[in-house]
């Protein structure tokens, strides 16, 4: 097993006991990337030199007797839409192919402070628009469980890097499922925190009322560790919540007796693959044995969630992506005048999916259509959010599948935007309501991982982590993928 496939806690202990140095730990990550990333293609850019330097510095500090924090020297991957000072931050787009961030995102500052070691930037669908990482304008990432299949998206590079044992954890961003769906496809844990729990300062904005940064990890405990490290109010992000930071690891007790679980019938219907449904039912039976009380509930407006999302998110994106005009940063394409320069820069710099969504959003916001599309979608969003409120009056968590299928084949859906959008049917309602949710492996179907989604009340990550952790302890591990004959 790759050293990087162990939990943060195990690696931390190994480092503390001197079983390996920070330098050796970093080298294990670099070696694993050298061995498998030509096939997996999870990384867009590596910072080997910087990573080795930081590791050597940490080893000196360890020798001098410095106390280690839980994340000291832990190798991490960062999605390429999160700003990392002096390193490429391309968002998977040609329009930012030459862009190096001039500051660190708040989450990077926080992880830096506790000593986590940035190994590289991970691949993604361009500007986080997609569910397969095939919309990266550089190359598609492959699913470590089956290299002919997609890793999911848009944080497909982050999910694949963790699943392949290349790094111990990664950060992703989740606007409509972009952490949870790839976590599900790649058999790792993915957590989308409550909107506002984690600062978005330094996250290149896609849809500002939906975007949230979160971790992709090997274990639920690791997700709790990372969330503790990155959470908190930030005066540079006016949408970050002023709520006090929480200690999540204390709530991982393994005890879920009396837990009230609502299972929306809309998430267990005919739109969900039979094989996926079977694994989810198995997980629910397991939770029941552990003392949870499970009822069928309803999210009556969830059938409108995908349509709602695909009006609201593109509308916000069309505004957010207006900044990419070839004037202040990015790749400029010359024009005969300024307007022409904008047109050339954007037409050559953006890929098809980005153009599609920018136009869809521009249309939904344009005069004459604003009320029919954008305002109507905002009203539907209220109703979808109220559906959850009604359930959470009686239940602690809502549980269902993360995605309606397991990982699909590369190229299978790329020419059909609408089919691709339906991948997010179980994850989108959560973003619209701003709630926290976690995806964790719950068995295999036809040799591919299935993800269980646990949704919580706003700012109640503690409960979803407790339930996920308890389930993880009691269920059989799905193991690790084998790449080139070597297990991750």
């Amino acid at each position: 097993m790759s050293l990087l496939s162990k939990s943060v806690h195990e690696i931390h202990n190994g480092l503390k006991k001197g079983e390996f140095s920070a330098r050796e730990l970093t080298q294990a990550s670099i070696d694993r990337i050298q061995a498998v990333d030509q096939e997996v293609q999870a990384f867009l850019h590596l910072d080997e030199e910087g990573a080795v330097q930081r590791a050597e510095e940490i080893d000196k500090q360890i020798a001098a007797g410095k106390q280690l924090s839980m994340l000291t020297a832990i190798p991490m991957g960062i999605k390429d839409n999160i700003c990392t000072k002096d390193l490429f931050t391309t968002c998977g787009s040609q329009i930012l192919a030459n862009y190096k961030a001039i500051y660190n995102a708040t989450v990077i500052e926080k992880l830096d402070k506790v000593g986590a070691n940035l190994i590289g930037k991970t691949n993604m669908d361009e500007f986080a628009m997609g569910s397969s990482t095939e919309n990266s304008s550089f190359f598609p990432t492959k699913n470590p469980w089956d290299l002919k299949r997609v890793p999911g998206g848009s944080s497909g590079g982050s999910a694949a890097a963790v699943a392949a044992g290349e790094v111990c954890f990664a950060l992703g961003s989740d606007t409509g499922g972009s952490i949870r769906q790839p976590a599900s496809f790649c058999g790792v844990v993915g957590l989308k925190p409550t909107y506002g729990r984690v600062s978005r300062f330094g996250l290149v904005a896609f849809a500002s009322s939906l975007d949230q940064i979160g971790p992709l990890t090997n274990t639920v405990d690791d997700a709790a560790v990372i969330l503790e490290a990155i959470q908190g109010y930030d005066d540079r992000d006016n949408t970050s919540a002023t709520i006090a930071p929480t200690s999540y690891r204390d709530s991982l007790t393994g005890d879920i007796k009396g837990l009230r679980v609502g299972v929306p019938k809309e998430m267990m219907g005919s739109g969900i693959d039979e094989t996926v449904r079977e694994q989810i039912k198995g997980a629910l039976t397991q939770l029941e044995k552990m003392g949870a009380v499970i009822d069928e509930v309803s999210l009556p407006h969830s059938q409108y969630a995908v349509a709602t999302y695909y009006l609201i998110a593109p509308a916000e994106a069309s505004s957010n992506l207006a900044r990419f005009d070839g004037v202040r940063y990015g790749v400029r394409r010359e024009g005969i005048d300024l307007i022409d320069l904008y047109h050339e820069t954007r037409s050559q710099g953006f890929g098809d999916e980005v153009k599609r969504r920018v136009m869809l959003g521009t249309y939904a916001l344009s005069s004459g259509y604003y009320d029919a599309y954008y305002r109507k979608a905002q009203q539907a969003r209220t109703l979808i959010s109220q559906d959850f409120e009604a359930i959470f009056a009686d239940y602690d968590v809502v549980i269902g599948p993360t995605a309606p299928t397991t990982a699909f084949a590369l190229g299978e859906q790329i020419d059909d935007p609408l089919t691709m959008y339906i991948n997010d049917v179980c994850t989108i309602p959560v973003n619209l309501a701003g709630l926290p949710a976690i995806s964790l492996p719950c068995g295999m179907a036809n040799g591919l991982p299935v993800g269980l989604q646990i949704i919580g009340k706003a700012f109640d990550e503690a409960t979803i982590l407790r339930v996920a952790h308890a389930y993880e302890q009691e269920s059989a591990s799905i193991g690790k993928p084998v790449i080139g004959g070597v297990s991750a």
């Binding site: 030459n98 862009y99 190096k100 001039i102 500051y103 909107y195 506002g196 009322s209 006016n238 949408t239 919540a241 059938q303 409108y304 349509a307 709602t308 695909y310 009006l311 069309s318 207006a322 005009d325 070839g326 004037v327 202040r328 940063y329 990015g330 400029r332 024009g335 005969i336 005048d337 300024l338 022409d340 320069l341 047109h343 050339e344 954007r346 037409s347 153009k355 599609r356 920018v358 136009m359 869809l360 521009t362 249309y363 344009s366 029919a372 599309y373 305002r375 109507k376 979608a377 905002q378 009203q379 539907a380 969003r381 209220t382 109703l383 959010s385 935007p417 609408l418 959008y421 701003g434």
Partner: protein, 96 residues
């Protein structure tokens, strides 16, 4: 409601995009497919429902009106495709 090729070209222009004839055809077809799907919202009774623009209760956060440091000019220009005398340089805006 369906979107015509002319409307797609108009929207592209608003978004500062230039489309080839082939792109106009395929985007028109795809946008119509997506908008048809969104038509389902029409059947939803939203009379009196407040539009939701944000997951958190909305309020403005004001800070003290003080001068605080921001990005240094050199750093702000670090990624500029073209610059001159400490400013971003662009082609002519007005025809002369």
């Amino acid at each position: 409601m369906s979107i015509s090729k002319e409307e797609v070209q108009h929207v592209a222009k608003l978004a500062r995009l230039t489309l080839t004839p082939e792109e106009t055809t395929s985007f028109t077809q795809q946008l119509n497919q997506i908008l048809d799907y969104a038509e389902a919202l029409k059947e939803l009774d939203t009379d009196g429902v407040k539009p939701m623009s944000h997951p958190m209760p909305e309020h403005n956060r004001m800070r003290e009106d003080q001068v605080i440091p921001s990005i240094e000019r050199e750093l702000a220009l670090a990624n500029a495709p073209e610059q001159e005398e400490g400013m971003f340089k662009v082609p002519p805006v007005f025809k002369g």
